[in-house]
Symmetry: C2
Subunit: 310 residues, 2 copies
């Protein structure tokens, strides 16, 4: 049976901590650190690092100058004429399901644009380098748009579960920086997280045949934890909204469970997501998928190394 043999040929990491896409959903313990540095006090203080380790996220208020945020939003306008987007297979533009409304723009850090510059800015990368204690590179970048009245949100998931299974990322030595371009409120699709959930690893049941990634960017089917496991974690740890103002930056561990409701409000919720991976943790072959996702969703070839000491 395909599902019973799903874990065969699983080589790295050798402890099999992050087996997933098997027959059953299971809860395992994360076997890796969350904060990889020690005795670092810049840019995050020891207290802030401790809080990040405990909860799996932190929000730095007002990190990005508003002028730069405005330039990014102005640039985004050039993408929003839906007729010109030519959403095709293997394309960086993703629409909402059964809709022409723009949902995500991938590989945004590769653009020579205010958004591309922001995604590679030293004032972001130095936080990431501190937490991961390594040289880093961009594993994935995107703008998620959550259009007014139309954004449909994202179901609960761990990024790392997908990155491990489908992209071949060995360990959760990775995180996302989320720059708020708009006010993020409960009503327009602010991220919800389960604090502390990054310390568990929720093995997700089921394994698709062939490519999953295109559909999953609209609405995730595989790589979704069991509802019962989500309920247990949410009951014990609660659910917290990551709200904030334009220019605030959320940093969150790649294994933190998060989701967002759709956007029923009249206000847009545009965020820049930049997922960074430790240089020592670069991608291998997918651990639990027959096909690897394309370059613009999981970078392998087009990677720029941001050295720790730079």
């Amino acid at each position: 049976m395909e599902l019973e043999s799903a874990f065969e040929g699983y080589a790295t990491p050798s402890d099999e901590s992050y087996k997933t896409r098997g027959e059953h959903a299971e809860v395992a313990l994360r076997s890796d650190p969350v904060v990889w540095c020690s005795a670092q006090v810049k840019p995050l203080s020891q207290a802030e690092l401790c809080a990040y380790e405990e909860t799996g996220f932190c929000i730095v208020r007002g990190l990005v100058p508003l002028q730069q945020i405005e330039a990014c939003k102005n640039h985004l306008q050039t993408f929003t004429n839906e007729d010109q987007l030519k959403v095709t297979d293997n394309c960086r533009f993703v629409t909402e399901a059964n809709s022409t409304v723009l949902r995500s723009i991938f590989a945004i850090h590769e653009d020579k644009s205010p958004l591309g510059e922001l995604a590679r800015a030293k004032f972001l990368t130095e936080y990431v380098q501190q937490i991961l204690d390594d040289d880093i590179y961009v594993h994935q970048s995107r703008v998620n748009l959550q259009a007014p009245f139309k954004g449909t949100g994202f179901s609960w998931h761990s990024d790392f579960e997908t990155w491990h299974a489908e992209d071949g990322m060995p360990r959760p030595r990775s995180l996302s920086a989320v720059v708020f371009l708009d006010q993020n409120a409960e009503y327009n699709g602010a991220l919800m997280v389960i604090p502390g959930s990054h310390k568990s690893f929720l093995r997700c049941p089921g394994r698709q045949k062939g490519a999953n990634w295109e559909k999953s960017l609209q609405s995730q089917v595989y790589g979704t934890p069991a509802e019962e496991h989500l309920r247990q974690l949410a009951e014990s740890n609660g659910i917290k909204y990551c709200t904030g103002a334009p220019g605030d930056v959320l940093f969150f561990d790649s294994n933190l469970l998060h989701a967002s409701s759709g956007n029923r409000s009249p206000f847009p919720r545009r965020n820049l997501f930049v997922a960074f991976n430790a240089w020592s943790n670069r991608l291998q072959a997918p651990f639990f998928s027959e096909e690897q996702r394309p370059e613009h969703v999981a970078h392998r070839q087009r990677v720029e190394r941001f050295p720790r000491s730079a």
Copy 2:
């Protein structure tokens, strides 16, 4: 043209305040009071009545004993075996669109059950009688279930707009009492309102041919205000969540704009909605619809009068 003549034959109320379902979306002013009584101090104080008049809603904390709430939830379990529900045309059970997940149960106040009793309880009706200053009856009652992970929520609308257009309710001398059966939080589909929006009347564009009501109970198409008008009101007045604990009761004006996001959380959000209408404001023929909705959605025959002085 059908749309141009949509306002013909509009007889009552004679001031044409509540014309709707025409060719264009428009913003009009409400021409009727919100609070109909004067100098009443029980059960709501003058200050609370003023706040209700200003915002269009109020929440009375802990009004329903928790034992009664528990009995209602236990009774609800008898409805949730989806296989037994037999969702058919003209049925009181409504599922989520393209799903077998139960969304609403109508005419719940007619049941001999803890829910039916609660819907007709004097400790609810006395609030409604005070605000509307009249004998009252139940125009519509339902439980909305917002199932964990599956509830899809409700788009922005004024109840009165639909009750006027499709049910023939002359004026907004009506309101809903919403009993929270579960904790209502931002993440599990708590009602969002635009405070003060009940003072405007948003004429909604477009008019269906034939019956609209069945589809509209799953996902509203007609009777939805223009996005631009919603944006203007939300920008000036803000959006507020009506959160609360089991046993809290929200009273809100029938013309208050409200919506709810879907429920992406693991927690149910079950609420009992009882819409009361003033006895003097009973239904006529629909003002802007060819067909009237059935009895279980808009009561005409099966009405019990709750006298003001009782």
